[in-house]
């Protein structure tokens, strides 16, 4: 069963009895989880286990899916994000998301980063600073500072993904969700992103879905193992990897299936 996390003063994200259906098919079954502030939480499990579906509940991207029905509560900083008075647009400003495939807009590097702040009404004279800061935080400033006006799509895949991270940072979220952010990247780009994620933990709460168990072990503080829509086990990463409580967790981690 889910292992309670010790010394959590106030969790940033609390999920309580979350159930989700796509039409008739139940994709998430009674998920409960508490994610502390300024930590990295990795969600692992075989394809189709519900980990991506779960992470998309945290910024309500599942709202866009037809016939998707959700029960239960997701509290972010104590507030139920499925509550009646919640503005989804505001929620997503606070809970950013980086996707599996690097997906910059077909605009310049600068405009990609400035896109969110501009629309959210940031003063034009502050934009340069925001763009620079976001690119620096995403460790891509050195490579792009002399060509901010060139198209973002001219960057390499790994650079594009860091650009997407910078784009998310520019909106100043408090939580960042990563949905398999390195599965389309080469090993060198992957390690740069991993390093970046570990650095971002200082200022953000991070939840990352990953196929790559070594990645989860390397970068996360907490790990949740999903199987067939259930959260089988959740706890400190060290413990999940060295001393799993559930048989199926152990089987998955040791590569017996998945």
């Amino acid at each position: 069963m889910t292992e309670a996390i010790q010394n959590v003063s106030q969790p940033q994200i609390e999920v309580e009895n979350l159930n989700l259906w796509y039409g008739e098919k139940q994709a998430l079954k009674n998920i409960s989880m508490q994610i502390p502030k300024n930590s990295v939480t990795a969600l692992i499990g075989p394809s189709g286990c519900g980990k991506s579906t779960f992470i998309r509940c945290l910024n309500r991207m599942n709202d866009l899916v037809k016939n998707c029905r959700i029960e239960g509560r997701v509290l972010i900083e104590g507030k139920d994000i499925y509550g009646p008075d919640v503005d989804v647009v505001d929620l997503r400003k606070n809970v950013g998301m980086v996707f599996q495939k690097p997906n910059p807009f077909p605009m310049s590097i600068y405009d990609n980063i400035a896109y969110g702040p501009r629309i959210h009404g940031v003063n034009k004279k502050d934009l340069d600073g925001i763009v620079e800061q976001a690119l620096r935080s995403a460790a891509i400033w050195e490579e792009t500072s002399d060509r901010l006006k060139s198209p973002a799509l001219s960057l390499s895949g790994g650079q594009q993904q860091r650009l997407c991270i910078a784009r998310t940072l520019a909106v100043k979220p408090r939580i960042i969700l990563f949905d398999e952010p390195t599965s389309a990247l080469d090993p060198i780009s992957t390690s740069r992103i991993e390093e970046l994620i570990m650095n971002l933990k200082k200022d953000y709460t991070i939840v990352i879905v990953t196929h790559n168990m070594q990645q989860a072990a390397r970068i996360s503080d907490y790990t949740g193992f999903f199987l067939m829509g259930e959260l089988i086990e959740f706890g400190q990463t060290r413990q999940i990897f060295h001393n799993p409580q559930e048989r199926s967790t152990e089987d998955y981690i040791t590569g017996r299936f998945g």
């Binding site: 910024n59 991207m61 866009l64 037809k66 647009v89 505001d90 929620l91 997503r92 400003k93 606070n94 950013g96 998301m97 996707f99 495939k101 997906n103 807009f105 077909p106 896109y115 969110g116 629309i119 959210h120 198209p151 799509l153 001219s154 997407c164 784009r167 998310t168 909106v171």
Partner: protein, 285 residues
């Protein structure tokens, strides 16, 4: 089966290229015929004078002005409405039975003969709304005619915008409308412009819809407002070729008119292609 894959490949390739050559061939023949016959007629006078001497002499200036007025009038109605309808259908409506019915209606509208649009325009705009035979009535009628083309091509352009753009914009806390306005529409502009090109060709070339709604057989003056009747190139051509005072004598004018009509459509197409290329380059690497 008898044919080897190599032989069947060769036969298929020959048939395909033959079909293509046929199409290109006919276009070239038509163009060459009109250009060679109409070329001599076109001069400054032809382009800037009204017809005179029972339309056997003079120019076609009023018809050029009329056709351009129709293009501007119908496009300025049909483009915004068509694009907005397409955005609604593609981005907001969802796949309900009602949407399906609307899509069916649009498809049927696209297949409706243009003379029916003409009669409809006569009944609705000329008579019921009392706009009379005028640029206004004809433009609105033509706008209806090209609406399905614009909606269809805009929808197709919207569909090809990758879902990733929408998702990543929404995930930045950008509203749906802002996402459409700042990410989806700019990416769809090349496709929308293509639809507009087709529509301009239709507007410039259609005769039946304007026949009942305001095109005049002959006017000595230019239209002075959108409530005036007007001359238009395709109808002028039709008049000269079938009902003119002296069909044989006006033959050079007929070819000249056809050539001017072609050149206007071609010119507008080139403008549209340039716009499309400008936006494509902006989107590309």
């Amino acid at each position: 089966m008898g044919l080897s894959s190599k032989t069947s490949e060769k036969i298929a390739f020959s048939l395909l290229i033959l079909a293509t050559l046929t199409v290109v061939g006919f276009v070239l023949i038509i163009l060459g015929y009109i250009i060679s016959n109409g070329y001599g007629t076109i001069d400054i006078e032809f382009l800037t004078q009204a017809p005179n001497r029972m339309m056997t002499q003079g120019g076609i200036y009023p018809a050029i002005v009329g056709t351009i007025a129709l293009i501007i009038g119908s496009m300025s109605v049909a483009l915004p409405i068509g694009i907005m309808a397409a955005i609604y259908l593609n981005e907001y409506a969802g796949e309900t039975r009602t949407t399906w019915l609307i899509e069916m209606a649009i498809n049927n509208l696209a297949g409706t003969p243009s003379v029916v649009f003409g009669l409809f325009g006569l009944a609705l705009f000329v008579k019921y709304f009392g706009f009379g035979p005028s640029i206004l009535s004809a433009s609105l009628t033509l706008a209806l005619l090209i609406l399905p083309i614009i909606i269809r091509s805009t929808e197709e352009a919207l569909i090809t915008v990758p879902k990733e753009y929408r998702d990543s914009s929404l995930a930045l806390g950008v509203s749906k409308w802002q996402t459409i306005r700042y990410v989806v529409l700019p990416a769809a502009i090349p496709g929308i412009v293509t639809g507009s090109i087709l529509s301009i060709g239709r507007v410039a070339g259609e005769t039946a819809p304007i026949l009942f709604t305001g095109a005049a057989y002959f006017l000595p003056r230019l239209p002075d407002s959108i409530h005036s009747q007007f001359m238009a190139l395709p109808y002028h051509l039709f008049v000269l070729a079938t009902a003119g005072t002296n069909i044989a004598k006006t033959r050079p004018i007929q070819y000249g008119t056809a050539l001017v009509l072609l050149l206007i459509v071609l010119g507008l197409n080139i403008v549209a292609v340039l716009i499309r290329r400008h936006y494509r380059n902006k989107l590309k690497i």
